[in-house]
Amino acid sequence: MIRKRKYFNDLFLGLHNYQIMKGGNNMEWVTEPVTYSDGGIEPQGCILDCDLCLLVFSK
């Protein structure tokens, strides 16, 4: 699985750099993913999302 992921990283991320060199820029992020492509979640200011929570500034 790790080998496979590395392969994809080499394949697609390497090519991504190549596209930028070519001047290609075919998609853009309105909001970046907070979960990694392997399913892990990026640490955020607060992982809770309580309905009444006011700590919206920290998210």
């Binding site: 394949l11 991504h16 909001t31 993913p33 907070v34 399913g39 309905d51 006011l54 700590l55 500034f57």
Partner: protein
Amino acid sequence: MITEKIIINTFVEIEKMLEDKRMICLKDYKFSKYNHKLIMNGDVYVYNAFSGGFCRFHDDNREIVSDIDFSENTCLEKIAQLPSDVISGLIKGCFIIPKKRNEFAIVKSRHFVNRFSDTNSLTLTLIPTMACNFRCTYCFEADKHYPNNCMSDEVIDAILNLIDSRLKENGQLVITWYGGEPLLRFDIVKKLQSKILRMANKKKLTVNSAIITNGYLLTKEVSDELVELGIRFAQVTIDGTKEIHNSKRIAANGEGSFDTIIKNILGTNSNLKISIRVNIDKDNIEAMPEFMDYLVKIGITRADNISLYFAVVKDYGSEGSALCSHYTVKEYAKEEVRLNEIAYSKGIYIHKNINPNIYVCGSLTTKAFVIEPDGTIQKCWGLAGDKNSAVGSILNLNCVDENYMQNQAKWYSWTKFDNPECKECKVLPICMGGCPLHTIDEKLNDDYKCSTYKYNMESMLNLIATKYLDDAY
């Protein structure tokens, strides 16, 4: 010149090689079940609720992506026609995922792992008094009659002991002051918060502190002291124009509270971030455009430290609930979009990110507690003052009580992962099963268990995309 040619030829060869490989590799991939496709002004956007990634495709690819459904169980064939950077982006954003992956199982497992793991963190909601200087018509604490009690030194010491025993060095502590009206006993807030800060300093804890107040006593001097105490966030509720607000959020002496709250908000220390909560029901919604115009006129919306958000008034079955015209979640979902669109058109910035969550509420974890003035421990602040719902007492943490155990079990065993509707829902990674209280407390209306995103996802994404385009171009 020669070198350049070699490089270009090499790239062409690599590209050709990768083109072939890509076709093979994509066979091992499928679309995520949490994709949401949106077409706005001819542009195609896709949002993924599992990753929170939201992307826009450029003109060159519009034709190809317009034809792609992005739904689970549809063919990936057309994806291969997209440029490689787009494909890598689709993988990064989890729009396409390995065929073997069971996303539901990952959402479920990361929920349970985080919910019950020891993360050296503690979230405490502290209630210095249940007394309140307001008599809001819809208040869910009205049945408890706002007893004029306050937190004793014994309870304060027990809270400090709890923090000390639960958190190791470099731990994370979240404190929310709640009530009643916490500023009625600002002396207790100051006393306990100072002691917490001293302990945090010794143990190198990170402390995030906030206060939920009606704003009536939030003078400039009080806001200066809050900032000094490390309390940098305050939530204040205003329910609409002066006439409407004063009819809903009535001071205990019968007077209106609107003018005092507005004056206080405008005068607060700018280091205190204020989130204005506007509770919406069928009685005040039509006055919202006028209210927003007023906020713009007095300059509140230009202040960097003040933001605004709308929340539906839920039916908690309290005495006041009968006087309130509640929306169902489905009804409110439509209104939420309308309110946000109006706000945006008036230049009011509404904070609205749609992010995946690990769990919807800290109450489900073993790391979050609500402490009442007499030391009673609750799991949810919606139950403040309800002794039948208590899960313990901070004055006797070793007490084995049948009611406490039963109440704890309701929260710690709560799950929506076995609910067939939730299993198939495309917003599950965001709502994570919704508000637990509305399914745990059988007296409550379970209509409020679902998130509005279940009904208005596309429209809310549309609004976020509109804002993004306005900012970017």
